[in-house]
Symmetry: C2
Subunit: 185 residues, 2 copies
C-alpha cells in the first residue's frame, strides 16, 4: 500500500478483530517498523512484549482491564509497549520517551494497515498488573498496547469503511499557522 | 512509495537540505498526514507553525538555537510543533500529549519521505524564544521541530544512502519478547 494511503486508511478498529491467527513473519514486519523509528539521541527506549494466542491474550486482557469491560480479549496478538523512564534523557524535564514511543507506535499502526491488519492503540490497562503477569522488571513502565489481527470482514478496507466515513478531525486551518501563530496557513 | 519502504528509508538528513522551495501542496500533504494521526480521546493536541522562506527560517533558527551552532538555518520550510498541555487528559499523571505528538510527527516524517523530502526531528530549540518570536500563546508548549526541504542530491535515495548504511538499531531480540519478559521473541 502507498504510504499516504496507509496514513489515510489507518483507523482504530477493535470491533472488527477476527480470531484468525497472524503469521509470525507479519508480526516481525510490524515490530521491525517500530524498530526503525527515530528517537532522541537514538535511545530506542521501546520494549515490546508480544502476547500470542487467543487464550493468552484473553487472560492478560481480562486481568489487566480497567474499564469494567474487557476489550479486544479475543485478539490473536496483543503488542504491549514498555519503556524504562530512568534510562532516559529528559530535556527540560519532559518525558520525551513518550514522544519516541509515539513515533514507533505510529510505524506499528501503519505497517499493520499496510499488511491488512487491524490495530487499536489503547493505554487504559493496569500497568502494575501487566508487569506482574508478564515478569516485567520493576523499573519499566507500561505505556500502551494494541491488538493485532485480521479483520472479520473480507478486507481491511471493508472493515475500516464505516469508521473512516465517520472520522472527525480538526481542519488544517484549526491546527496550522503560517509564519506566526494566528496567521492562516 | 510503499509504506514499509518509506518506514525503512526515513532518516534524519539535515546535512542534505537544499534551499529549493517546497510547493505549498506538498506542505499541505505533509500536514494532512499529521492531522490524520490517532490521539487519546481524539484530542488532536498538535498545533503547527510553518515558517516558510529561507530568510524567515534563518531568522527563527538563529534566535532560537541553543547549541551554540545553528542547524538547518538554510531550510526553505520549518515545521514547529506546539501543544497545550493544560487542555489535555493525563492518565496516571503522564504527559500523554507527547505520545500523541509522536504519532503525528511520524506521519509527517513518513509523508515527507514518500514525497522525496528531507526531514530531521529536533527538540533542542528554545521554546520561550520561539513563542515570543511567533506570537504563540503563553499556555502553549513547544515540543519539537523539523525542517522540510528537497535534498541537495538528485533524489531522496541518494541523499539518504550513506546515513541509512550507517544506521544503528537494536536487534529485535533486544527489544521484543514473546508472551513474557525475557522470553526470546
Amino acid at each position: 500500500m502507498e504510504t499516504l494511503e496507509a496514513i489515510n486508511k489507518r483507523a482504530s478498529l477493535k470491533a472488527h478483530l477476527s480470531t484468525r491467527e497472524v503469521e509470525q513473519d507479519k508480526i516481525i514486519k510490524v515490530l521491525d517498523a517500530a524498530r526503525l523509528a527515530p528517537s532522541a539521541t537514538n535511545e530506542q527506549p521501546w520494549r515490546f512484549v508480544v502476547v500470542k494466542g487467543k487464550e493468552n491474550v484473553e487472560n492478560v486482557v481480562t486481568r489487566a482491564s480497567r474499564m469494567g469491560r474487557r476489550v479486544f480479549d479475543e485478539a490473536p496478538v496483543l503488542i504491549l509497549v514498555f519503556v524504562n523512564p530512568k534510562d532516559y534523557v529528559f530535556p527540560d524535564g519532559k518525558t520525551f520517551y513518550l514522544l519516541d514511543i509515539g513515533l514507533a507506535m505510529e510505524n506499528i499502526l501503519l505497517a499493520a494497515t499496510d499488511l491488512g491488519l487491524i490495530t487499536h492503540p489503547m493505554a487504559s490497562l493496569d500497568g502494575d498488573k501487566l508487569k506482574e503477569m508478564l515478569d516485567v522488571p520493576d523499573e519499566m513502565e507500561f505505556v500502551l498496547a494494541t491488538p493485532l489481527g485480521y479483520p472479520t470482514e473480507g478486507s481491511y478496507e471493508q472493515a475500516a469503511q464505516e469508521k473512516l466515513s465517520q472520522r472527525t478531525r480538526k481542519s488544517l486551518s484549526e491546527i496550522a499557522y503560517s509564519n506566526k501563530w494566528g496567521k492562516p496557513f
